[in-house]
């Protein structure tokens, strides 16, 4: 009983404070998305109001006055049909162009983005900064810096969602997806899993902390937060015996990995493939799923032997061996 009372009082207090109708807008794209959202809200309210008004007017004006009424026939009107086909068409064309250009911009990270890696796992978010710190269900980022997240999942499909930033993307097992944002306001914001993932889906939530750059730097260096990813990857590279075949000078059983990241590699079939995170992951987890011209398919699979976090460390190591910027057609 007291519980109900408390709930009631809490609700009353919340209503007095006012029910929020807009989530915090704390990223560089949030305002743009909201402008479109409010434009669409306006369209919805306008057309609903117009339709309702016309219906009510007709309802009153043309109400049945006697049982024997036989209103005259109206077949229809071609001009009217054209008008109310063309106007919605133009309207949705405008919305499409507006929304799509916004989305297109929002889907491409700036080249100077800071990178963070995300692994979804029933039911928590693992986040790893290249500099070393690992977090669970918490993400610390500096304000006004573009951040690119590279995401995957250990098990089922999850979805990384920060409402305040208006960004959302699935973390899909077996491949990498990415999203980016640039936080614009200091503060603490919700992080949700927005793709149903099992029993504790609703508990797969956390917080994003947007900090000043100096606070962020202090946070990064504060305490023993694990070694940098590339360094961990290098250790793993040696421990797993990768180094015995992938010699730096290219004389081993496997190709040299130096300077490989970002290149276009030619396969035995003649096809060109870009060496990116996805391809390196494929090479580690399902080796021999593509063949290289001068090497025999002898690499053993590491599926089940290392987890997604370790794969990411290996990738970070390979990236550290390669050119920083991707040079297309460098071969």
């Amino acid at each position: 009983m007291t519980e109900i009372m408390q709930t009631g009082l809490g609700l009353l207090a919340a209503i007095q404070e006012g029910i929020p109708i807009r989530p915090p807008a704390a990223s560089s794209i949030a305002e743009g998305v909201d402008r479109l959202h409010f434009f669409l809200t306006g369209i919805t309210l306008f057309f609903t109001a117009v339709i309702f008004a016309i219906i009510f007017y007709f309802m009153v004006k043309y109400r049945r006055r006697s049982e024997d009424e036989r209103p005259a026939d109206i077949e229809g009107s071609l001009p009217l049909e054209v008008v109310w086909t063309v106007i919605p068409t133009l309207l949705v064309a405008v919305v499409f162009v507006w929304a799509s250009s916004l989305y297109f911009e929002n889907s491409r990270p700036p080249s100077a983005s800071m990178e963070i890696f995300v692994i979804g796992k029933q039911w928590m978010w693992h986040l790893q900064h290249p500099e070393g710190p690992r977090e669970i269900n918490e993400l610390h980022v500096p304000v006004n810096v573009p951040v690119k997240l590279t995401m995957t999942s250990e098990d089922v499909i999850h979805d990384f969602y920060i409402p305040a930033f208006r960004v959302k993307k699935d973390a899909v097992p077996g491949r990498y997806t990415s999203l980016w944002f640039q936080a614009t306001k200091l503060g603490t914001y919700h992080l949700f899993c927005a793709q149903y993932c099992g029993a504790d889906h609703a508990e797969m939530i956390g917080w994003v902390y947007v900090m000043t750059p100096s606070d962020y730097a202090a946070w990064l260096s504060g305490g023993a937060r694990g070694e940098p990813m590339a360094q961990a990857g290098e250790k793993l590279f040696n421990r797993l015996g990768c180094a015995t075949c992938h010699l730096p000078d290219g004389t081993g059983k496997g190709p040299s990995l130096v300077g490989l990241y970002g290149k276009q590699e030619k396969l035995r079939s003649g096809e060109m493939k870009l060496v990116d995170e996805t391809l390196i992951r494929q090479a580690i987890v399902t080796p021999n799923s593509f063949l290289l011209p001068n090497y025999a398919p002898v690499m053993p699979t590491f599926q089940g032997l290392i987890n997604e976090e370790q794969v990411l460390q290996l990738i970070a190591y390979v990236k550290s061996l390669g050119p920083e910027e991707r040079k297309a057609n460098s071969k």
């Binding site: 709930t7 029910i19 043309y62 209103p71 949705v92 089922v156 979805d159 899909v172 919700h190 927005a194």
Partner: protein
């Protein structure tokens, strides 16, 4: 449409003593082995009503649970099963068969002037298939339930869930064939069994809508059947084509699933749009405004509905290029829907509008469908969809279409044709009251969810951050009103079957072949196959009822 067929019927034919399809034979066998489309419609009516209240009970439990942020009623596990079963039952066992299998089965042969559907035994088989599918699903519900969501996304459903995925998947798979065979039966009937003189452009718009629906059932349902089948195999064999461990793509499942399941939304709403055209014309005594535009918009919706499924997947890591294509196609489908709304509104112009219960449902439908349709623009538009996808905004949007649209139209249709089906009238005052309660309860339940979603609360959450509580409580309060609203018609409709006054062949003075035969109709619908000489909805002509001649 006027015919000279049943002039000879005496006035007393409205009395139940006359031989009709309901009293032509007795006993449980005469129902379970019937091939009469009207009796099969009633078999469907009773079974989907049962499923509706089972699914509705799950919804009520969910809304009760969400009164408190930490969950007021059940464990998260149980909550996940509740929303899954609510979705599976409402979509596959209520909404998809709702109007087509009950009103469609009852009316299609009568509206085209035929004695029965083209394949009556196949029709009965469809009901049995539906019933078997429903039994599998109910069995799974009792024996532990299922927690994958009605969308069955792998790898959760194929590998990680520990619940009764296979029985439910089997239930959905089996029921799919019921839907396919019903659609097939309608298409053949509409093509081959129309009465003499009943050309395509003299057909009631309900028939056009059912025809468009059947096309979707025929072309879409097999795809979801094979997809669910592959999922079941993958779960049983621990290997399959959606398995990321061997390079399979779980997102491909979503493509195949939505290839059917998006058009399936139109399986649910298109027949409702057809019912609307019948209701609006009858209760404003007007020919439909722009007949051919309304008819072709149904066909346009059926075709375009197959081109838009990718908008369910804008955030799944689908390519940006595909996102752009699916977005522009999704916007297109808004246009024929808008055309319909404008034409109904124009039909009211200079009409003679009466406010009996079916018309109240119809007017409620127009408003809610307009809102549901317009909020769809938020989800077709890429930039806003990224924020709203997977939140309560989606839940609110599709409930405006499915409940505010399809269920309102279904109830309107049931109220409209109830006198034809049973030969009895229900109390109109109660029916209007129920329509009002449902309209108010519905908006209270689902309008707050638009805001909850925009604020960022994801759907399928058993617990949620406390700042969303106020709106959730509002929604739950609305749900209790809505629940009561649905119980009222159940009571007075059952009451009317026994105690309602006799309706007579055409209580609404409506046009259409089904109104020119007694209520309830005889087993073969017409004494003699009618010859049609007039356009549809010819309300301007002096009324030619049964007593004429």
């Amino acid at each position: 449409m006027s015919t000279a067929v049943i002039d000879a019927l005496p006035e007393a034919s409205a009395q139940p003593s006359r031989v009709n399809y309901l009293n032509a034979s007795y006993g449980i066998r005469s129902w379970l082995l019937t091939t009469d489309h009207k009796r099969i419609a009633l078999l469907y009516l009773s079974s989907i009503t049962l499923m509706f209240f089972v699914g509705g009970a799950f919804a009520v439990l969910m809304r009760l649970h969400l009164i408190q942020p930490q969950g007021a009623l059940v464990e998260p596990d149980t909550y996940n099963k509740l929303f899954t079963l609510h979705g599976v039952i409402m979509i596959f066992f209520f909404l998809i068969p709702s109007i087509p299998a009950t009103l469609g089965n009852f009316l299609v042969p009568m509206m085209v002037g035929a004695r029965d559907l083209a394949f009556p035994r196949l029709n009965l088989l469809s009901w049995y298939i539906y019933a078997i599918g429903a039994i599998f699903t109910l069995y799974a519900t009792i024996s532990g339930g299922v927690d994958t969501g009605w969308t069955f996304y792998p790898p959760y459903s194929s590998t990680f869930s520990h619940t009764q995925v296979v029985p439910v998947a089997l239930g959905v798979f089996i029921t799919g064939f019921s839907s396919i065979l019903t659609g097939l039966n309608f298409v053949v009937t509409i093509h081959k069994m129309r009465a003499p003189g009943l050309t395509w452009f003299r057909l009631p718009l309900f028939i056009w809508a059912i025809y468009a629906t059947s096309i979707i059932m025929i072309l879409g349902t097999p795809v979801v059947a094979i997809t669910i089948f592959l999922l079941g195999l993958e779960r049983l064999l621990h290997v399959g084509i959606f398995d990321p461990k061997i390079g399979g793509d779980p997102v491909l499942f979503q493509h195949l699933f939505w290839f059917y399941s998006h058009p399936a939304v139109y399986i649910m709403i298109l027949p409702g749009l057809g019912v609307m055209s019948e209701l609006v014309t009858c209760f404003s005594r007007k020919r439909i405004f722009g007949y051919s535009f309304v008819a072709f918009s149904s066909m346009a919706i059926a075709v375009i509905s197959f081109l838009v499924w990718g908008h369910h997947m804008f955030v799944t890591g689908q390519s940006v290029y595909a996102g752009l294509i699916f977005s522009v196609l999704s916007f297109l489908v808004a246009i024929p829907s808008a055309v319909k709304v404008f034409n109904w509104t124009a039909t009211l112009y200079k009409g003679s509008i009466s406010y009996q219960a079916p018309m109240l449902y119809a007017l409620g439908f127009i408003g809610l469908f307009t809102m549901g349709g317009l909020t769809g623009l938020f989800l077709a538009s890429l930039a806003t969809d990224v924020h709203l996808n997977g939140t309560y905004f989606i839940v609110a949007h599709f409930h405006y279409i499915m409940v505010g649209g399809a269920v309102m139209a279904y109830l309107g249709g049931i109220h409209f044709w109830w006198p034809k089906i049973t030969g009895r009238m229900y109390p109109d005052g109660w029916a209007r009251f129920a329509a009002l309660v449902i309209f108010v309860g519905f908006n209270l339940t689902f309008f707050p969810q638009f805001i909850i979603g925009y604020l960022g609360m994801p759907r399928r959450y058993a617990v949620y951050p406390p700042e969303f509580q106020v709106l959730n409580v509002m929604s739950s309060a609305g749900a209790s009103i809505l629940g009561v609203g649905y119980l009222i018609p159940l009571i007075y409709l059952i009451w009317s079957m026994r105690y309602g006054p006799a309706a007579g062949p055409n209580p609404w003075q409506a046009k259409g072949l089904e109104w020119e035969t007694p209520s309830p109709p005889p087993t073969e619908n017409f004494e003699e196959i009618p010859v049609v000489t007039e356009e549809a909805y010819d309300y301007a002509a002096p009324h030619t009822g049964v007593a004429r001649g």
